[in-house]
């Protein structure tokens, strides 16, 4: 007889913890901040139970730095925060990008800028996730609208961090983080886990920590192991030693950029609802996608041909996939809780940017199906 699945009724932040533990998280450093604090609280309980490490650091910056240090000893590491803390972490996120250290950073978004609306929902950090740290780089950022997806996206974040040796941002929002919903815990092995790629270079042989293989991947050696090497945030050569040679700098920046931007299709996750015959395509993500789906179904019941493209990978932006899904659409509505951060990406991606409209809320109130209907009717010339 098949064993019954474990079914839980949880907050999104709790689901994130369950998924991170499923993925093999064993080091967490954090600092309390609304609306992400439940992640730290639950891990303070759960990590020591499995012999993992939890530390509450003195600030957001230190938390980010500590998980980078722990990752270098071979541990799957994560921190969680919200807007102000995400701002503080940016320099160290850039370090993890430059030094190619796998780790996962959760940002449960709240209203901003500055202290903003600490307990209210927003999706205002989309561009910060992409460009928050200085200098040319690429980044992976993912999101989810429901708990089952939040679980699999979180596991995927750990897998992608190891595959591409990069920080991965989980860009959740206050509604998803605090909402309670059913979660079926996947069986062990049901979602594949990618473990760290370690070097096969033997002790006594020169190990080049920053010399990519043909496939672009960089096998690692843990701190404390037999290979002693240098890790730096400076432009560096294949040994990890600082270099200011133009050729080295050019090659490194391209490597950091290309390893992600050349794999947009492999990284991309999206969900499609009623797109086959959709005249109006809604594009949304995170909690906004719940209202978008509801309104699509409301309109479908009336015979109107709406569809939804729900993005789970925000960065690298899946421009080609978005363009293809929008080719037959008469209108495209981007539904998000900011001033149009993904809207601009969609306009860049599609053939007719004049057909792309924004449905948004920026007041800390959850965007509703009515909000979407109002804009939909306006662009049809029907009035609200």
């Amino acid at each position: 007889m098949k064993k019954d699945k474990k079914i839980l009724f949880l907050q999104g932040n709790e689901v994130c913890v369950e998924a991170a533990l499923y993925a093999g998280l064993d080091f967490y450093a954090g600092y309390p901040i609304t609306p992400s604090t439940e992640i730290a609280e639950l891990l303070a309980l759960r990590l020591p139970q499995k012999g993992g490490k939890f530390i509450q650091m003195e600030d957001e910056i230190a938390s980010m730095c500590a998980i980078i240090g722990a990752s270098l000893t071979g541990h799957k590491s994560m921190t969680a925060t919200s807007g102000p803390g995400f701002s503080l972490k940016q320099e160290a996120i850039g370090y993890a990008i430059m030094a190619e250290v796998p780790c996962v950073v959760v940002n449960v978004q709240r209203g901003g800028p500055s202290t903003g609306l600490p307990t209210k929902v927003s999706q205002g950090d989309v561009m910060q996730a992409r460009w928050g740290t200085h200098g040319d780089h690429s980044i992976i950022a993912m999101t989810a609208s429901n708990h089952q997806d939040l679980f699999s996206v979180t596991v995927e974040a750990f897998n992608l961090a190891e595959t591409y040796r990069t920080p991965v941002i989980l860009l959740f929002d206050e509604i998803v983080g605090h909402m309670r919903e059913r979660l079926v815990i996947p069986e062990p092995g049901e979602i594949p886990l990618l473990e760290r790629l370690h070097t096969s270079v033997k002790e006594g042989t020169d190990y080049h920590p920053y010399l990519p293989r043909e496939d672009g991947r960089l096998p690692m050696s843990d701190f404390g192991g037999v290979h002693r090497y240098n890790v730096t945030g400076l432009v560096h050569n294949m040994w990890g030693f600082p270099s200011d040679q133009p050729g080295i700098a050019h090659g490194l920046i391209h490597h950091l950029y290309d390893k992600i931007e050349n794999n947009v299709n492999a990284i991309n996750r999206m969900k499609e609802y009623y797109l086959d015959d959709a005249e109006c395509v809604l594009i949304s993500y995170g909690s906004s996608a719940r209202s978008a789906l509801q309104e699509v179904e409301n309109r479908r019941a009336l015979g109107e041909r709406l569809g939804l493209l729900e993005l789970q990978t925000l960065w690298p932006f899946p421009a080609k996939a978005v363009r293809e899904r929008c080719e037959k659409a008469k209108n495209i509505l981007v539904v998000e809780m900011n001033m149009g951060q993904i809207l601009q990406e969609v306009k860049k991606a599609v053939h007719h940017p004049d057909k792309v409209f924004l449905v948004n809320r920026i007041d800390g109130t959850f965007i509703s199906p009515e909000d979407i209907r109002n804009v939909y009717r306006l662009i049809q010339g029907k009035g609200v």
């Binding site: 012999g51 490490k53 650091m57 003195e58 230190a62 240090g69 000893t73 701190f223 404390g224 002693r228």
Partner: protein
């Protein structure tokens, strides 16, 4: 004991960036001798640094080396240490790196009493950026950002470390090389957060701006203006700087305490 310094240096990475007469080479030399005399395995040693002249020391040393961002070396080191407590962590920092931008991490690492050895190479100035005053320059000193004299008072690193909870606190100078090596050995051996302030000359900026002279004059300054802790000379002349071990106490260490939490947590599972 004769030590082959070369065994601990990455020759591929040399020459170093330090100016002629800089004190940091003396610190590095004695750090190597201390590590060699302790018989530590290079694979068990992690050196974490931040940004600045002093921070470049990690690249030259043949350990696991992590050259990080300005001020945050102790935060990175905390992650390394807690995730692999059996490793030995040494964190050399400059005075600006450790106590201006990194001041918060410094006091909190001390408060936790995590088993990390912090070596503050105090040259009283920001050298890498060209001679701006640091929180250790002191009142009245000249710097490129204090052309009329500095009105910022300096920290007393030893008093600060003690108050913050460090369980080993010492001060020495690049003139007192025998004490320097011995103090670093004690600090590494000590179980808990150890702080060693090493007064290290910067003839290029601090010496020149403040008309102290060259490297030799600055070393002589350390000789003439320091006294062992408790010397009666200090009472006669309070401007003298005390050197020696200020604090050496056995106190619960963070990673060992965390292990106890794991034991408790596993009983409640």
């Amino acid at each position: 004991m004769s030590v082959s310094v070369k065994n601990y240096v990455r020759e591929r990475f040399l020459p170093h960036i330090w100016c002629p007469g800089c004190g940091h080479g003396i610190v590095m030399n004695n750090m190597i001798r201390a590590i060699a005399e302790l018989g530590l395995n290079k694979n068990d040693l992690v050196m974490v640094t931040g940004i600045g002249c002093s921070a470049r020391i990690s690249g030259y040393m043949d350990f696991h080396t992590l050259h990080t961002i300005h001020g945050r070396a102790l935060a990175f080191a905390t992650g390394v240490k807690l995730s692999r407590p059996e490793l030995t962590l040494i964190v050399p920092m400059g005075d600006g790196d450790a106590l201006a931008i990194g001041g918060n991490h410094f006091i909190h690492a001390a408060r936790r009493n995590i088993d990390i050895t912090a070596i503050i190479m105090n040259n009283n100035i920001y050298g890498m950026t060209g001679g701006q005053f640091s929180p250790l320059s002191g009142y009245g000193k000249k710097a490129t950002t204090a052309p009329f004299g500095n009105i910022d008072e300096a920290f007393d690193i030893a008093a600060l470390a003690k108050a913050a909870g460090a369980s080993f606190v010492a001060r020495t100078t690049t003139y007192h090389v025998a004490a320097l090596k011995k103090t670093i050995k004690e600090a590494i051996t000590h179980k808990g957060f150890s702080v060693v302030e090493v007064m290290s000359q910067c003839p290029t900026y601090f010496g020149r701006k403040n008309k102290i002279g060259g490297a030799v004059d600055m070393l002589n300054f350390y000789k003439d203006n320091t006294v062992p802790i408790g010397s009666p000379k200090k009472t006669e002349n309070p401007a003298l700087i005390e050197t020696g071990v200020f604090v050496n106490e056995e106190r619960p260490e963070y990673c060992a305490e965390y292990e106890k939490i794991v034991q408790k947590a596993q009983k409640t599972k």
